[in-house]
Symmetry: C2
Subunit: 98 residues, 2 copies
Amino acid sequence: MASNCSDVERSIKVLVKNFYTYAGKNDKMNRSEFHKMVGKDLSHILTNPHSKQGVDDLIKKLDANDDGKISFEEYWTIVSEIANKLSRQMANENKEGC
Amino acid sequence: MASNCSDVERSIKVLVKNFYTYAGKNDKMNRSEFHKMVGKDLSHILTNPHSKQGVDDLIKKLDANDDGKISFEEYWTIVSEIANKLSRQMANENKEGC
């Protein structure tokens, strides 16, 4: 990753690249790719990241067009929910999230 | 920052913490704090980050409730726009953004 990016720019790129690490050329994550991503990349911040039912419920909630796949926009919804949750924590407590 | 976080979790935290670096306890960025943030943290990804008019136009666009300040939700709008732009680039070209 180019060194002249700021931490903020680098962080946005990490989040975008992470989607394509799993979605690959298809531009969408399937169910098992999403399970893998949640278990590996969101295991501290999400509750029950390894519960099959919990992640399936999350997919149902995120899958706005009900095609059984997760698009970048649907993926960004969960990233934004986590960010908003962390923001409320930081606004209230100014403590580390994980 | 806790070492057991994943890169994705750490990146979300960097983006959230960055807001509070400028907003401090007030939970909102004022105009000059937003100018500083854009000039320092988004100077590679945004076009004309140092153009006063460009950033003022951005504030007008983001400031949904027109209070002259930028809330976390309004800040996250620009983060999401940048992420979507990068995502389209990566989907098309699979090249680095900056």
